[in-house]
């Protein structure tokens, strides 16, 4: 006869149970999970979430940064300037970051003669303001509610131009990103006027993501609204990235980026824009029909990062060769050079600039000169004070 086990050890007894026949354990959280319908929906959601997690998807970035590696990092377009310029930057603190900048320019096509900008940034908060000699103002405020949610407000008040205000919300989940923005939205005129844009970029595999962007625009209630849908795809293979965009206006944009080494990147972008051009009668000058027109441009470029300088060069199918170089000649002084030659139009542009960095306190000054690190410790090998 077997020994009787004490009652308190009943949990350790090997009692065979069949899962389907074992009684359901009441779920926590009341109605939401104990109700059979909600419980079923919860289970479906949990199953899908677990399956998505098992795919090992990563956040694909945002639609705005779809081809950032090519257009912003490699190509010189956004750094390009003409004429002479001088930047006087002063950093007052690093954490939180606070710095001001004075930019003086002469003979430039797009830079104002004088501009002042200030920047303040913390871990979850960023504000930047810029005002020029025409009193044109542009400002940007970003606030991160948590690691997934960022709200952004952009304001532009330019001379003789309407005020532009853009409200934006970014949500970046584990495997997708949503962005919603509105430009000059108002309901005060009896209905919505302004521009509203919503975009979604979803990872399908750990490397491949597709996206869609929808835009609704209405300048005034008396005018008909306009809408457009754009499609995106991005393939990130680690050391190379390919993207494609199909825009509603009839543009197709493809880009390719490769990290050749740690300090060398190469990029390529092709734009094809299809439009319709009216055909006019050569005798009467009256329109007699329409013909499709396709315009295209391909740009290839490379970025080289050296120890004291950064070099960007590019060449496009319209015959333009452009270069932008930034070289640090002293710890606090950099020289900027930008040049462009248009071989088809036989014209050229040139820009030369100086950038001065100064510090608002002694530790920052020592850091700028490479004598101490961010924690205030002496840098090995640097000459000591």
């Amino acid at each position: 006869m077997s020994e009787q086990q004490p009652l308190q050890d009943v949990s350790k007894m090997a009692i065979p149970t069949i899962p389907s026949l074992s009684p359901q354990v009441p779920k926590q959280n009341g109605l939401w999970s104990s109700n059979p319908v909600f419980s079923y929906l919860n289970d479906v959601y949990t199953n899908i979430a677990e399956h998505r997690k098992s795919l090992g998807l990563t956040n694909p970035g945002t639609v705005e940064n779809l081809s950032k590696e090519v257009t912003r990092d490699v190509f010189a377009n956004q750094y390009f300037f003409t004429g002479l310029r001088a930047d006087l930057n002063k950093a007052f603190s690093l954490n939180p970051a606070f710095q001001t900048s004075h930019t003086l320019s002469i003979g430039s096509e797009n830079l104002p003669p004088y501009a002042f900008s200030a920047l303040y940034a913390k871990e979850d908060f960023f504000v930047q303001g810029n005002v020029d000699n025409d009193l044109s103002f542009s400002g940007k405020v970003n606030y991160g509610w948590d690691e997934h949610n960022i709200s952004k407000v952009t304001l532009q008040i330019a001379h003789n131009q309407p005020v532009m205000c853009q409200l934006e919300q970014d949500y970046q989940a584990n495997d997708f990103s949503i962005n919603v923005k509105a430009l000059n939205p108002t309901l005060l005129n009896g209905g919505f006027t302004g521009v509203a844009v919503a975009s979604l970029l979803q990872s399908f595999t750990s490397k491949f993501a597709v996206g869609i962007e929808s835009m609704y625009s209405r300048q005034a209630l008396s005018l008909p609204p306009d809408s457009a849908v754009n499609y995106f795809a991005r393939y990130n293979a680690g050391n190379w990235i390919a993207t494609a965009q199909l825009q509603a206006q009839g543009a197709l944009v493809g880009s390719f980026w490769r990290k050749v080494t740690d300090r060398v990147e190469a990029g390529l972008e092709t734009q094809l824009v299809a439009s319709v051009k009216p055909i006019t009668d050569s005798m009467m000058g009256t329109p007699i029909g329409y013909e499709p027109v396709v315009e295209g441009q391909t740009t290839i470029g490379a970025k080289y990062e050296y120890r004291q300088s950064v070099f960007r060069g590019q060449l496009n199918s319209a015959g333009k060769v452009a270069v932008f170089m930034e070289k640090r000649v002293l710890p606090t002084v950099s020289i900027l050079f930008s040049g462009e030659i248009d071989h088809l139009k036989n014209s050229s542009k040139l820009g030369v600039g100086l950038q001065f960095e100064s510090a608002g306190n002694e530790q920052l000054m020592l850091m700028q000169q490479g004598l101490v690190d961010a924690n205030g410790n002496p840098v090995p090998g640097a000459p000591q004070m």
Partner: protein, 47 residues
């Protein structure tokens, strides 16, 4: 009145939208092949 001269076949091909599209797609493919090729690796400075 003299009949208006028709553009040559080559001019017609050159002016067609498909030609522009084909050239740009060709340039893109050639660019990708160049960037992915060992030629791009040779353009890295050996410092």
């Amino acid at each position: 009145m003299a009949a208006k001269d028709q553009p040559s076949t080559i001019t017609q091909i050159y002016n067609s939208p498909a030609f522009t599209a084909a050239v740009q797609v060709g340039l893109f493919v050639a660019g990708v092949a160049f960037i992915q090729s060992p030629l791009m690796d040779f353009l890295v400075p050996q410092l």
